[in-house]
Amino acid sequence: MATEYVLRMGDGKRVFMTKDKIKEEAIAGAGNAVDYGLVPDLSADEIDKIVEICAMPGKSVAVEFGMEVPVTHDIGTIRLDGDQGNSGVGIPSSRLVGMMMHERAFGADTMELGHIDYSYKPVKPIVSNECQMMEVAQQNMIVPLFYGAMPNMGLYYTPDGPFENPGDLLKAFKLEEAFASMEHSAEHLTRDIVWIMQKLMASGADGVNLDTTAAAGDADAFGTLNAVKALRAEFPEMYIEVGMAGESIIGMHGMLEFEGSILAGLWPHQQVKLAEKAGASIFGPVVNTNTSRSFSWNLARAITFIKECSKVAKIPLHVDMGMGVGGIPMLETPPIDAVTRASKAMVEMTNVDGL
């Protein structure tokens, strides 16, 4: 009987698979990326490498010496005292303590200041507090420190914002009204991100992290990329990280263009080119984990997408490797065996610049 290896499903559940089965899954996962993203397939050697990493005997694994990469860290500020909604562990502590713990105790290569709601729009009324915190943090910290939040354009739609919900308008077949609502919201999103970051740059921020860009679809990406463009024009040396919400930009609008490209339906290797044009310093591509598929299926699929993205990118890539993305299972406490295998495979196989 063939040896079976411990593996995970996309929801984190433990399963056992033979090497042949792991390979079959990896080939299928890579094939799915090829089919959807029209990206090149993995070679037989690359599939074998994934199988080898999946079947390594240790519970946790690591990259080979010399292949280490910086790890950028979003939402770390509130990882300690945050609640479950932020994947926080509920240890009463200040944001400064959260950031410095990550810098001094955990070995993070960069850090980020963010607030508990973690969207740009709600920063407006509390921006002075954020600036104050940024100044204190920059006096004390050494690693690069972003200000970070989600563009989260849904907050501009009713009932949270002034513009009618385009989802409702589309269902009522009011297409023009839906388009107008999205376009107006995108304008406000751009304006708010720029205004907030002007304040934070004056208080010493190293730059901005735009986390989960395009969560509300192509108009969200449109508003965010325009904010990047405006910020780059105003702050030539600012660190700008554009991290995505999902692997493909959902076409809620469908006709919005940035620098001559339709935004809807773009995959990571196409998204990165627009981030470059906008003026981003680094880009955070995402590949979603399918919870019904195995770890090797998801990992091979993620690597296939990211390999092509890395190949075409001129700016550094810090791949999103959090819960439910990058081959990592969708689970509040992702198993270390899967996290470290995904980490090693992604870094060693795709020439990415960080995680």
Binding site: G85, G167, K171, F179, G217, I250, G251, M252, H253, S292
Partner: protein
């Protein structure tokens, strides 16, 4: 023109997402003597293709709506006879209480509506009792429950429990979705299915209701 060619033309017309093209293909099929049921099958095959292309990022939400609208207009012109008495299956859809995420759920509602279901989207942050009221009011066949946060996921379980308490659970199917939901979670809380995305939601609804 043979039947297969006409069916393909109907399907292609749907993928064009243009109402006038869909109407023209439908009229051509009627004139060729094709039955209303066959024509609807051809249009539905095209709608499935539209859903697939949406998932692949080749078509976008407005396209899906335009195709669905074109199909509805075309179907309205057909003589349905007894088949016209078919009642649409009713789905209640919403994001559970405490969770303000709306967009993914709205896409699911749109895709279900486009696939021919009667959808009542209750919005987001929906109190659990409101799901029960809606099931009763619309005599629903299915309830779709979305949650995007691990902190609100339990709301899906609460709705199922309230359905049971109201003696409604056996009358409706329950579908769950949203980033932290999984098949295992669906099984754990006694839902009938989990859908990974909007296209899968349509497939699951068809499997369970049609």
């Amino acid at each position: 023109m043979d039947k297969q060619a006409l069916l393909k033309e109907l399907s292609d017309a749907m993928v064009s997402c243009k109402a006038d093209v869909i109407m023209a293909a439908t009229k051509k099929a009627v004139d060729a003597g094709m039955s209303s049921v066959e024509i609807i099958d051809g249009l539905a095959a095209g709608m499935t293709e539209v859903g697939d292309q949406f998932e692949r990022g080749k078509l976008f939400l407005p396209h899906v709506m335009m195709a669905a609208n074109g199909m509805q207009k075309a179907v309205d012109t057909l003589e349905m006879g007894d088949a016209g008495a078919t009642v649409k299956k009713v789905i209640i859809n919403g994001t559970v209480e405490g969770d303000v995420h709306d967009i993914g759920k709205s896409i699911v509602s749109t895709m279900l509506q486009s696939a021919g279901f009667e959808v009542h989207d209750l919005g987001r942050d929906v109190p659990i009792a409101k799901f029960i009221e809606a099931v009763k009011e619309y005599n629903a066949d299915m309830v779709g429950l979305s949650a995007l946060m691990t902190t609100t996921l339990n709301g899906q379980k609460d709705v199922i429990e309230l359905l049971k308490a109201n003696g409604l659970r056996d009358n409706v199917k329950v579908m769950v979705g949203g980033a932290p939901a999984t098949t295992t979670w669906a099984e754990k809380i006694g839902a009938d299915c989990y859908a990974e995305n909007a296209t899968e939601a349509v497939d699951r609804a068809k499997e369970l209701l049609l």
